[in-house]
Symmetry: C2
Subunit: 197 residues, 2 copies
C-alpha cells in the first residue's frame, strides 16, 4: 500500500458551493487535485493507494479517507471529486462512516488521525529540505507521505509529524504544488518498482 495525508489548512468542514472551490470552500480545489493525482493513472485507478485529507477550515476538523481499491464512478475532474467530498461532509459522525464507495469521513483532530495512521503505515514527511527521495526509494515499506497544501503544516502539526516520521524526504529543489508532489512521489516509486520487476 501507498498512502498520502494532505493537510487542508482552510478547507471547509461543511458542505460547500461546488462552483467556488478555491474561494468559499477554502482551496478545496487543491484537495480535489490531490485525490486525482493520488488515485488516477491513464484509463485506470491505483487500487493499492489510500489518500487521507484533514480539513482544518472549521471546528472540529474533519478527516476524509479515499480508497483507490473501493471507489466507483469517480472521475478525475475537480468538480466530480468535489461533489463526492461535499456528499461525505453531510455526515458528521465521530467514527469513519462511508458516504460513497471508497469514501469515508470522521470528525478527528490531527493527533487522533496520525495515531491511527502509524498503526498501518510508516510515516514520511515531505518537505523541501529533506533527504532526496531517490536515495531512499528502495527502503520504503508501506509508506504514507504527509504534506501540506499551499500553506504547509503549522508548527504544532509539524512537531507531531516529526515525532512519528521515519524520515523527512525532499522531491526537488523546485517547489511544486501539493498534487504535483503526490504525482512525483508516485513516479519515483513506480520507476523503482518497474526497474526491479
Amino acid at each position: 500500500m501507498r498512502g498520502f495525508l494532505v493537510i487542508g489548512n482552510k478547507a471547509v468542514t461543511e458542505p460547500f458551493n461546488i462552483n467556488d472551490l478555491p474561494g468559499s470552500a477554502g482551496r478545496m480545489d487543491i484537495m480535489c487535485r490531490c485525490i486525482a493525482q493520488a488515485l488516477f493513472i491513464s484509463h485506470g485507478v491505483r487500487k493499492d493507494v489510500e489518500i487521507y485529507l484533514l480539513l482544518c477550515g472549521g471546528t472540529p476538523f474533519r478527516a476524509v479517507r479515499v480508497c483507490g481499491g473501493e471507489i466507483r464512478n469517480m472521475a478525475p475532474d475537480e468538480r466530480n471529486i468535489a461533489g463526492l467530498i461535499r456528499k461525505a461532509l453531510k455526515n458528521s459522525s465521530r467514527r469513519w462512516k462511508r458516504s460513497s464507495p471508497g469514501i469515508y469521513t470522521a470528525t478527528m483532530d490531527f493527533d487522533e488521525l496520525i495515531n491511527e495512521l502509524i498503526m498501518k503505515y510508516s510515516i514520511y514527511y515531505l518537505r523541501e529540505d529533506g533527504e532526496k527521495i531517490q536515495n531512499v526509494v528502495s527502503d520504503l515499506r508501506n509508506p504514507l507521505f504527509v504534506l501540506g497544501d499551499h500553506l504547509g503544516l503549522s508548527h504544532e502539526m509539524e512537531k507531531v509529524v516529526l515525532k512519528h516520521a521515519e524520515k523527512v524526504l525532499s522531491l526537488s529543489k523546485v517547489s511544486y504544488q501539493a498534487d504535483q508532489c503526490i504525482l512525483i512521489t508516485h513516479y519515483e516509486l513506480d520507476k523503482f518498482e518497474h526497474e526491479i520487476m
Copy 2:
C-alpha cells in the same frame, strides 16, 4: 523555452458549459489540467513555458496558445482555466488573436500548427514505446513535447509528428494521464537543470 502541444480529440471548438467539462465540452477538463501542470508551480508560474492545445471536437479545428510569461489572474483550478478557454473560443479569427493576457486562439489544422511550431522548437513526441527521457534530457534544446489526450493521436497526426520529431520519448512503463506526462517531463528537466547549476 519549453513547449507542449496537447491534442484534444473531442474538445469542443465553440464556447461550452463550464459545469460539464468532461461531458458536453469533450473532456475539456483534461485540457485545463494540462495547462495547469504546464504553467504552475508552488506560488508561481513558469514564465519560460508555452502550451498549445489543438481542439479537434469541431470543424474547423481551433488552436489555443497559453504563454506562462504573459498570463495574469489565472489560477490553477479547472474552472478558472476553463473560463479563460471559453472566452478565447468566442473569437473565430484565422490568425492568432489575444483574448486575455497570454491567451491566444486561431483557426488552424494540425499541419499548419506543426509547421509554425517547428520554426521555434525542436519537436519530441511522447509515446510509451519511445526512448527513456532520462537518457536524453541533457541533449534537449528548446524542446516542444507533443502528446495526446486520453485517445492519443490519430494515425494521420502521428505520421506528421514523426516526420518532424527529433525523437520519440517515453517517461515510464506506467501509462500516465496527459497532464501527468507534462508534469513528469517538467520534473525530469528541472532535475537536470538543477544538477548542472
